[in-house]
Symmetry: C3
Subunit: 139 residues, 3 copies
C-alpha cells in the first residue's frame, strides 16, 4: 500500500466563500502516482467544510442564503460559543450541514467522478490562514 499526504492552504479575505479545489486535488493525485485507492479530502479547521457539488455560482449563492437562514451569523450573542470571545458560533453549525470531508474513489489514476462532481472548500470564518488535508492511499 502506498500513501500520499499534502496540505492545501487558504486565506479567504471574506468571512464566507466557496472555492473549487478540484484542480489542486487532481494535482495531488498525479503527484502521488496512485492508480487504485481512495482519497480523503478534509477541512483541518472546524469552521470550514470540504464538500462535493456543482460548480455553478447561482447554486453557491443559494447555499450561502440557505445556511445563513439555518444558522444566522447575527446576532452573535445567540451562540454560547461566542462567549469565549469568538464570533464564529454560526460557522461551526454551517460546517456540520455541509460536512467536514469527502472520500473519493481513485480508479485508473483518476478521481472517479460522476458528470458534474467538483470538490469545494467551504469557508465560514475567513480572514486567516487555514488548511485542507489531502490523504491518498492505494497502489
Amino acid at each position: 500500500m502506498r500513501s500520499f499526504r499534502k496540505e492545501l492552504w487558504f486565506n479567504v479575505p471574506t468571512r464566507r466563500a466557496f472555492i473549487n479545489i478540484t484542480p489542486q486535488v487532481n494535482d495531488c493525485l498525479q503527484e502521488s502516482g496512485i492508480r487504485e485507492g481512495m482519497a480523503l479530502v478534509n477541512a483541518m479547521h472546524i469552521t470550514a467544510s470540504v464538500f462535493i457539488n456543482d460548480n455553478e455560482p447561482g447554486l453557491h449563492d443559494d447555499y450561502e442564503a440557505w445556511l445563513e437562514k439555518l444558522a444566522p451569523h447575527e446576532p452573535v450573542a445567540q451562540y454560547k460559543h461566542n462567549r469565549t470571545g469568538e464570533d464564529n458560533g454560526d460557522a461551526h453549525l454551517k460546517r456540520q450541514v455541509m460536512g467536514r470531508e469527502v472520500v473519493v474513489a481513485i480508479t485508473n489514476g483518476k478521481l472517479d467522478f460522476g458528470p458534474w462532481e467538483q470538490i469545494f472548500y467551504g469557508e465560514f470564518d475567513g480572514g486567516r490562514r487555514k488548511r485542507v488535508l489531502v490523504k491518498i492511499i492505494g497502489e
Copy 2:
C-alpha cells in the same frame, strides 16, 4: 491491496424517493472477494444522496416532510440555481443534509453493520438515469 469498482444504476420515476441498496452493495462485496477493508458508496450525481439509516417507511416519510420544510421545492424561483433552466435547486440543498457518501468497514467478508444499519439511495431529482459508485479496497 485489492480494489473493486461497480456502478449501480437507477431511474426513479418520481421526483423524490428512498431506495434500500444494501442487497446490491452486499452483492458487490461478495463479488469483490475482499474480506478486510473499506467500502465507499457514493452518489455520482449532485442531486442525490447515499446514507445509512433505518428501513422504516414512516421514517422515510418523516425525512421527506422534513427536507421539504428545510429546503422547499416550490417556489422554484426562490433559487438562483434555477435561473439556469433547472428546477432542482432544492435537490442540491437536500442532498447536503443527507450526505453524498458512506464509508462502511468490511470485516470477515461482511459489511460491518450495527443492528439496524441499511444503506439508502436518496433521490431528490428523479425522472432520469443516475448512478451510485461502489468502490471497495482491502484484502
Copy 3:
C-alpha cells in the same frame, strides 16, 4: 495491508449528549500499530452520530439548541416513525445533520488532525447501550 477493528461502548443516561472519544480512538490507533492509512469511526446505531468539531461546552449547548430547533423532539406525534411505538423520530433526523461517521488520515502513527479537531460521539436517544466502530486500515 493491515486492518484493526474495535467497538467502543456507551450507555448515556440522558437522552442527548456529546462525548469526546478522541482518547479512545487514539488508543485504538496505538494498539493497531498502523502508521500510514485511514481510520473510519462510525456510529453503529442510527440515532447517534460521530463527528469532528470543537471541544467547547458552549458550542455543544449551541448544537443541542440548534438541532432541537431543526428537528424538535416534542410533540412526538409529529413523526410517523413514532407510530411504531418509538419516540425517537427526531433522533433519526438530528443524526443526519451531524453525520454518521468520520474518516481520519493516519500519518506517522498519529491521527492527522488540524489544531482543534476532536472526535465526538453524539447521542440523540440515550438510556441504553450503544456502540461506535473504529476500523483502521493501512501499514
